[in-house]
Subunit: 229 residues, 2 copies
DNA sequence: CCATGCTTGACACTCAGTGACACAAGCGGC
DNA sequence: GCCGCTTGTGTCACTGAGTGTCAAGCATGG
């Protein structure tokens, strides 16, 4: 792969069913075609997560994943933009609505409050499905190639949060350091929590990420709100 | 490529001359072989930066870069672990001594002060060589593949800063959120400054990064020092 | 002069990722 | 019922990154 100027997989291009969600039933798609797509997608992620967790990222080829899922290599790339994406989209999908969530917060709310809520969304989801999410998070954090991709996604989140914050506060995202700085701080907290969660008690993940993020924001809050007292 | 468990290029494996520095003469290596190595390395980075800045990351092949520099593709990969690394190492090399710098700060210093100095090092270097550094930074920030690699490097910095901070404060980097959180905040400031610097006045880069980072840390300081008053 | 070690180029190979084309459903109109 | 149309898929061929191997080339030290 490489830069992917504006490419990406041809995932349901009509009423975009959103990032492929893996196992959870959730709001099932309606059309037959959509359900078929969904089926193949989950089959692929399932196969990928199992194989990769078992043998490591490098020891598994895309061909293997595809064949295990019962499709061709070519079809794999019609669902995911890269080998890394099968794993990362699992996490990244959860963060996609951060911006929406931030935009939905009441206008007068302090930045620290609003950001805390936005960032909490994916973390509480993780916490609620720890059995599925924890192995994935661990795999990502300890595989350089996956980490790089994940951070790339995160950079997009940061961009989104920056824009949204700038809009909320009536500031210029270019000329003013604060919006990007605040977004970065929120994501730093996110990362710290993710690390702590994945490392704590190498057995079954320790404290609830929802609680940890609150702890982190207690430290951040004074700085986050210092610009709008 | 992919995960690179512990691989990397066979860069001077004897008394490792450190990351290949590009043009600056600096403390020239002594041995003849070392100087030859250095020469090839700078030739490669020079060729790469020129071609990539001109035609974009995807439109240039490693073969081209190598041939332009007068060596073979195989030799390219003996100097750089990946196509991205030619560009990124330029920046990443500067950040490598962050940890050393942090460790060298007086023990009693407030975390915000110590971190500010550590993070300032690469930024002031950038500011001092803006004519060379700015195009590279812009290229990295707007090329997803390069950004991903750069963030991967930064993750290593964060790890280093985390360890060092934990040591300084006598805390446990695993159980305690604060060290990683503080390191993340410092790097968030770093990123914000880098963005601001690269975007400000699309002409020639605006305010001095050294000044910008001070501005950012003015916001961060209360949070950074809140744990050790 | 010869042995040793380091660097390089040439070659072959794996694997990620893409483009092109042909083929098989599912579906609406007539 | 048949005809198009769209959509998803497999096959094939191809580019380009990255690696292993081997056989020179060229410095050094004895």
């Amino acid at each position: 792969m490489s830069t992917r100027p504006e490419a990406g997989p041809d995932l349901g291009q009509a009423p975009d069913p959103g990032p492929v969600r893996t196992p959870g039933p959730g709001p099932a798609p309606v059309s037959l075609a959509q359900r078929k797509r969904q089926l193949v997608a989950t089959e692929l992620t399932e196969a990928a997560l199992q194989l990769l967790a078992l043998r490591g990222f490098d020891a598994v080829t895309v061909d293997e994943i595809a064949t295990t899922a019962g499709v061709s290599k070519r079809t794999f790339f019609r669902y995911f933009a890269s080998k890394e994406d099968v794993v990362v989209q699992f996490l990244a999908g959860m963060g996609a609505d951060m911006r929406t969530d931030l935009a939905a917060r009441p206008a007068g709310e302090r930045p620290s409050e609003a950001l805390l809520h936005a960032v909490s969304v994916p973390l509480t989801i993780c916490g609620d499905h720890a059995d599925r999410a924890l192995p994935v998070v661990r795999l990502i954090l300890r595989t350089p190639a996956l980490l790089a991709r994940f951070l790339e996604h995160q950079a997009r989140w940061r961009e989104d949060l920056t824009q949204e914050l700038a809009a909320r506060l009536g500031r210029d995202a270019r000329a003013d350091l604060y919006p990007r700085l605040a977004a970065g701080m929120a994501l730093a907290a996110f990362d710290a929590v993710l690390h702590r969660w994945s490392e704590g008690e190498e057995a079954g993940g320790s404290a609830d990420p929802g609680a940890l993020i609150g702890e982190a924001f207690a430290v951040l809050a004074p700085a986050l709100d210092s610009v709008t007292p």
